[in-house]
């Protein structure tokens, strides 16, 4: 189907200094865990987006010198010729598809702890980082300033050599140039501190020098947080924010606008539970609206809806649609709009799992919606292309249509298996997503800071996308409302059986903290609930509720939010140092804490329950069990252990003779039914099995390419043997 003409505006080229951006789709710099040291992953991940129609793709933040070292988090680096060579692979791959390559030159100052290089970061004033622990910069005198500016110039020249088209002087997220600009970091009294012009001087001079060095050949860009969101003590869009854009407008070919800083960058990479699409508009939208720039502007806001994109460009908010997360979730988003295939768009759900892995430091990026993200090179997976399976004459039964089962059936369908039946006991497919997406509470009220309580509703996109794809596959049948016994599975007539029956919550308080049940815990009682029962409304919830959360992710806090939002007095108890620790990594934690505060939720950390009785829970301090605390409550919600629903799998597996007699050649278990896990990992598990269903031992993942240096040899040949082992080499 041809493109709807109303989207033509998204496909108009635009000039960025000496370079032409072929359309308005722009992958802004974002981390993936590749940097310069996994060049294959870097080149193939960005290249996949170029193939999918993005007009430009950028590196993640790219260190210009060893004294800007963010280890253990993974940045790119352009320190030497080796880095030039590795990053050139990414440029070449992008250029093959007609996309521009951008590099975000980065000097972190005190936000870069230099744990690998052991170097000393320099900064405008000697104030410890508000992001790192106990990292102080060295005060920069004029020599230091000249030295660091020369680092930018040298890095820019190397970047040009690598083949980059767009070269950033990166100051957003409160890295060095912004530290000079903001009085929050800059307490200098020399010509680099005090007045606006003095504070802007470092950034302006750096831009001038980089432009002088490479500006004839490359587009010069700057990423700038137009508002620090800290009020008058730092940069505000209506004051120095707009002023800075005007002041440096002559030096850039492209502005890339954000808000906030790195210490709470969830204000920029806003999670869906608090921020809606295009949520930065109140800040970043002011620049063009106020005629503060004559240069092209790119901005973000987890924009996945083509109509929003058109509105943004035609209203003059931005000239170019920037995306990090939407481009991870769907590298082919531009092409799908171009081809009129809007219902094939795999929309980002705003869970920020991608970000969590960078925050953890080290692991490659993952994506809940797109299981192939980060696997383009090492596993050879393509998000839109699927090789017909070598054993495609086989028919497959997938039992359980939760995240793992839906994904597995969809990929098996796309791999042209002769017949795939996806059967689920519930009336609707989607499994746990159907009730989880009702958590987090969505009273829509304003958060204490900004954003609002929107709940986890956008997570339902996990189901929506797969349901639409499954409907389109003529070799896949979906049968909800049908609970299969082992006998029925055996007689089903499938040669391959995949069990994806999910998991349930412990009913007796069994938990990861004590590895034992809790005395008195029994969710068969009408006043004790598992989290899914909070949504199910089969049990009446009393006025005073205690939520025990031993999971460390979203469940306990989201249940607390929902119940407190409905007017219950909620006490949230965890054995850990903080509630929902993993939500620090997904950047949801700061907003979550504000929301729980708004809702009046009482939080008790380092606290565990030893006994539950009607009307009272007996708690103790984990560091001093003699220190007891009693909680008088009417209802208890136990977010404790999850347990695989694997009885069907175990029963089938127990009788190998019968499996053989019934013609079942393969029996596999995936997702929570195999071991409870996060949704992102369930979907990966289902995808992985389907991708490798024709491998010699589908239950065992095939080896993937490990980008490592082999002792005594470091040519690309090192990886050839592993490369040949993968199923779907691009």
């Amino acid at each position: 189907m041809p493109r709807d003409p109303k989207y033509d505006i998204l496909f108009e080229p635009i000039q960025l200094g000496p370079k032409t951006l072929k359309n308005r789709f722009y992958q802004v710099p974002h981390c993936i865990g590749a940097g310069s040291e996994k060049p294959g992953m870097q080149a193939y991940h960005r290249g996949m987006k170029a193939e999918g129609g993005w007009g430009a793709c950028c590196t993640e933040y790219c260190s210009i010198h060893p004294e800007s070292d963010d280890t253990s988090r993974v940045s790119a680096r352009i320190w030497d010729e080796g880095d030039v060579r590795n990053l050139a692979a990414m440029c070449d791959r992008l250029h093959q598809f007609g996309a521009l390559a951008g590099i975000e030159l980065w000097y972190g100052g005190p936000h870069a702890p230099c744990m690998e290089t052991r170097a000393t970061p320099r900064g405008p004033s000697q104030i410890a980082s508000d992001f790192e622990l106990n990292i102080f910069p060295r005060y920069m005198d004029q020599d230091d300033i000249d030295t660091v500016q020369q680092m930018y110039v040298d890095a820019a020249i190397r970047a040009r050599e690598a083949g980059f088209d767009i070269i950033y002087v990166y100051g957003a997220h409160a890295y060095l140039p912004f530290q000079f600009l903001s009085p929050f970091y800059n307490r200098r009294t020399d010509k680099y501190g005090g007045s606006f012009e003095n504070r802007a001087r470092f950034w302006r001079e750096s831009l001038e020098k980089v432009r002088e060095a490479v500006g004839d050949d490359c587009a010069i860009a700057s990423r700038f947080a137009v508002d620090h969101l800290l009020g008058p003590i730092s940069i505000q869009v209506g004051e120095d924010g707009a002023r800075f854009v005007e002041y440096c407008d002559d030096l850039v070919d492209l502005w890339d606008f954000t808000v906030g800083d790195i210490a709470e960058w969830g204000q920029n990479a806003g999670p869906s539970r608090f921020f809606e699409e295009n949520h930065e508009k109140p800040y970043t939208g002011q620049i063009k609206a106020g005629n503060h720039t004559n240069k092209p502007v790119v901005g973000v806001g987890r924009i996945t809806n083509p109509d929003t994109m058109v509105a943004i460009i035609s209203s003059g908010q931005f000239d170019i649609i920037g995306a990090a997360r939407p481009s991870i979730s769907d590298p082919f988003l531009p092409q799908k709009i171009d081809e009129g295939r809007l219902d094939d768009i795999r929309e980002c759900i705003g869970c920020n799992q991608c970000i969590s892995r960078w925050e953890i430091g080290g692991p490659p990026m993952v994506c809940t919606q797109n299981a192939t993200a980060g696997e383009e090179y090492r596993r050879g997976w393509h998000p839109e292309k699927f090789h017909p399976a070598a054993n495609r004459e086989k028919s497959v039964l997938v039992v359980g249509a939760g995240p793992a089962g839906m994904e597995c059936a969809m990929v098996l369908g796309k791999r042209e298996m002769s017949a795939v039946h996806l059967v689920d006991a519930s009336k609707e497919i989607g499994g746990c997503v159907n009730w989880i997406s009702q958590l987090g509470h969505s009273d829509g009220k304003d958060n204490l800071f900004r954003g609002s309580a929107r709940g986890l509703g956008e997570w339902k996109r996990i189901v929506n996308y797969r349901q639409i794809q499954l409907d389109k596959l003529s070799n896949v049948e979906v049968h909800p409302g049908s609970r299969l016994s082992a006998a029925e599975v055996l007689e089903y007539g499938a040669e391959i059986v995949i069990i994806a029956t999910g998991c349930h919550f412990a009913t007796d308080g069994m938990n990861a903290a004590t590895h034992t049940p809790i005395e008195g815990a029994d969710t068969s009682l009408d006043w004790q609930l598992t989290p899914d029962e909070v949504v199910g409304e089969t049990k009446r919830v009393g006025q005073r509720v205690l939520v025990l959360e031993n999971e460390g992710y979203f469940m306990g806090a989201s249940v607390a939010q929902k119940l407190a939002g409905e007017g219950h007095a909620v006490t949230l108890v965890t054995q850990a140092a903080e509630i929902a620790h993993y939500m620090d990594y997904t950047l949801e934690a700061p907003m979550l804490h504000r929301d729980l505060e708004r809702l009046g939720v009482g939080i008790h950390t380092y606290t565990m329950l030893e006994k539950i009785e009607p009307g009272v829970c007996h708690g103790y301090d984990v560091w001093n069990p003699a220190h007891k605390e009693q909680f008088e409550v009417d209802t208890v919600v136990l977010c404790t252990a999850r347990i695989s629903d694997d009885a069907l799998y175990r029963e089938l597996k127990a009788d190998k003779g019968r499996l053989e007699a019934e013609g079942i050649e393969g029996l596999y278990v995936i997702g929570d039914a195999s071991a409870p896990r996060m949704i992102v990992d369930s979907i990966f598990d289902g995808h992985r099995l389907a991708r490798e269903i024709d491998s010699p031992h589908p239950e065992m993942p095939l080896p993937f390419i490990r980008e490592r240096r082999l002792w005594g040899d470091s040519t690309n040949e090192d990886f050839r043997a592993q490369l040949l082992n993968t199923v779907d080499v691009v």
Partner: protein, 263 residues
């Protein structure tokens, strides 16, 4: 007990579609073929009756070209015992009365106790074939059945029809009879993979009106109508686009309302 279930392979439209240039129908590229939704319920009713009575046979019959085999195989997979497809190129574009006349020849040959049709087909929505078939068979019929209880000893069915205003009409009908079955009467089963594979081996007979002793003229004479043209409705006149500022638009709307009210 022998039950015949006449079914139809219907065409569902894609979200966007084009008509054939000659106006004879929708471009088949934009159609997705499937078993008529109502027929899934009539087939299920037949299968349940066969299972309840412990023996008998369910025969599905359709009038259609070989595209319709897929629908018949689907019925066989769900549990029908045999299938009969009747076709002749002269039947292309046949109206419900002509189809009913052809079906009648097939059903008469089977001499069933019950004929269970769907109330209507989702593509043509005439709701005529079932009752017309009863007419040709000279069988008693009940249309739009929401509940069906069969009394084997009496060879009679007690059926409920839902009428306007929430009224329920209860009828008792002796076999042989024809019922048209409404959706929601049961929960149609699906076929597992083994049944789908086994259905490939079940008998699917292809016949023609001639082979069933039906004269082509008789079929032609039965037809009550023919489709002359399928087209999008013409855009009506009388719409007035009102331009101007919101207050100007509002003033014009007030003016129009006053004109109409006084007129």
């Amino acid at each position: 007990m022998k039950i015949v279930v006449p079914v139809k392979q219907v065409a569902a439209l894609d979200d966007e579609f084009e008509l054939l240039d000659d106006g004879s129908g929708v471009d088949p590229d934009f159609l997705e073929l499937d078993l008529n939704e109502w027929d899934a319920f009539s087939l299920e009713a037949a299968l349940q009756l066969r299972e309840a009575t412990g023996d008998g046979e369910v025969v599905v019959v359709t009038v259609g070209d070989d595209d319709a085999d897929e629908a018949l195989r689907g019925c066989l997979a769900r549990g029908a015992d045999r299938a009969l497809r009747i076709w002749d190129e002269s039947l292309d574009g046949a109206d419900p009365l002509a189809v009913a006349r052809v079906l009648a020849a097939g059903v008469e040959r089977e001499r069933p106790d019950l004929v269970l049709c769907g109330v209507q087909s989702s593509d043509a929505v005439n709701g005529a074939t079932g009752v017309a078939l009863a007419g040709y068979l000279q069988m008693p019929h009940v249309a739009v059945v929401k509940q069906l209880d069969f009394d084997v000893a009496q060879s009679a069915a007690t059926v409920k029809r839902e009428l306007e205003g929430g009224l329920v009409e209860v009828l008792r009908v002796r076999t042989p009879a024809l019922l048209t079955i409404q959706t929601g009467i049961n929960e149609p089963r699906y076929a597992n993979l083994r049944a789908i594979k086994q259905a490939r081996e079940k008998p699917l007979e292809v016949s023609s009106p001639g082979e069933l002793g039906l004269d082509a003229d008789l079929v032609a004479a039965a037809a009550g109508s023919r489709r002359r043209e399928l087209k999008h409705p013409e855009r009506g006149e009388g719409a007035e686009m009102i331009d101007g500022s919101p207050s100007e638009v509002a003033a014009r709307i007030v003016e129009i309302v006053r004109e109409r009210m006084s007129g």
